[in-house]
């Protein structure tokens, strides 16, 4: 099983957070305004063990995501500037507003990767302080190898500004993916290319949570059985 770049990311991300905070302070000082920086990053490494063992092969990492609501749900189905956005994977946010969806891309190692975000006009982005910002540049997100495992799954949790837990991934198994978290059981039918997204309000307790695709079940915190 290949190791995932998430193994290296904590220090690099921590450095990015520190630089970003410093940049926000500098800009605020220049503009003579209070810093408007927020804790922009997920803290996936709290759940690193969970995420890493969630898939049987091809580990995953997490990407930066923001929750928000109040924007209209778009009608567009594609975006030339963001190839790979799978609009049929879109899942509603519990509070309404822009749905969540994934974009599929292939990393330099040939693995399938997913970027999660809020869908608008067929493109993914984030909602920051009530304002939608389309993702720019190269996509980033968790990666796995569907050649090695039938399921790629990732969990991202964010405590602010609005607490959300998002389970998403890719399945090459026919039929729905069943997500069991506590007493909640959700059956999510992947889109045409196998992408699925399930959004939960709050920071759900993932203890004992499982994801089932076909006859295989992957336990959060444990391996597939």
């Amino acid at each position: 099983m290949s190791r995932d770049p998430s193994d290296l990311l904590p220090s690099l991300r921590e450095l990015g957070d520190r630089l970003g905070d410093a940049a926000a302070r500098e800009i605020a000082t220049e503009q003579d305004t209070p810093p408007r920086r927020r804790r922009r990053r997920w803290h996936p490494y709290v759940f690193g063990g969970i995420v890493a063992t969630l898939v049987a092969a091809g580990g995953v990492t997490a990407t930066d995501l923001f929750t928000g609501s109040g924007d209209p749900v778009p009608e567009e189905r594609s975006s030339p500037s963001q190839p790979g956005v799978l609009t049929d994977s879109a899942a509603q946010d519990p509070a309404g507003g822009l749905p969540w969806a994934v974009r599929v891309f292939v990393d330099e190692r040939g693995r399938e990767c997913l970027q999660l975000g809020r869908l608008r006009d067929g493109a993914l982005g984030t909602v920051i302080s009530g304002q939608y910002r389309r993702y720019q540049g190269r996509p980033n997100g968790p990666c796995g190898d569907l050649g090695e495992t039938p399921l790629i799954a990732a969990v991202e949790q964010r405590s602010q500004p609005t607490a959300r837990s998002v389970v998403f991934g890719l399945s090459r198994v026919q039929g729905p993916v069943t997500i069991r978290i506590g007493d909640s059981v959700r059956r999510v039918r992947p889109g045409a290319l196998g992408a699925y997204v399930a959004v939960y309000a709050g920071m759900v307790d993932l203890t004992g949570a499982t994801i089932t695709a076909g006859k295989r079940t992957f336990a959060i915190g444990g391996s597939g059985r």
């Binding site: 290949s2 190791r3 770049p5 193994d7 290296l8 990311l9 904590p10 220090s11 690099l12 921590e14 450095l15 990015g16 520190r18 630089l19 970003g20 410093a22 940049a23 926000a24 500098e26 800009i27 220049e30 503009q31 408007r36 920086r37 922009r40 930066d64 190692r109 040939g110 693995r111 920051i128 910002r133 993702y135 720019q136 540049g137 190269r138 980033n140 190898d145």
Partner: protein, 199 residues
Amino acid sequence: MHQMALRWRQTRPEPPLLRRAADDPAAFDELYDELAQRVLLFFTRRVFDGQLALDLTGETFATAFQRRRSFRGTTAEEQEGWVFAIARSQLSHYWRRGRVERAALQRLGVEVPAMGDAELERVEELAGTAQLRTRVAHELSRLPADQREAVQAHVVDERPYSELADEWGVSEQTIRARVSRGLRRLGATLDEPVTERVH
């Protein structure tokens, strides 16, 4: 007859993140997310030390932030080239002085986090340094003897030019030229991509 009106919608590309980062911290975040790992691996492949590479990465982005208003490019490619030019400059400074410049990091009050053992191992794995070491050793063995000995003595064993000049009975300039030619050839090796097949 039914007529259909077509309207062109003119769009303009968004300015590069660096331009937007002049007064938007989120744009700087995005720039970091886009390039940080590649910059880290760029350094790791050249200094063979993940923590050192992270230090250099931090100084590179701190410098990029501080100089962001001097960026005049209009495309993502120019932006990337600009950041990597800073990275190469940091590397050059490191080679010359033997230490990482931290002036920009200090001005921003940023301390570079320490990498754990697992991270260091992972960074080296991603950078392909094990393969690279083998390739460099191989290329070193293929250098002409005078260049190989000069690189070995000055770069690997860190012996000063003056000492080598005395010992070998040639001018310092001659040894500098041998080291320079040898490193240039090895440098070409370092710039070749390392491909990794994932099973």
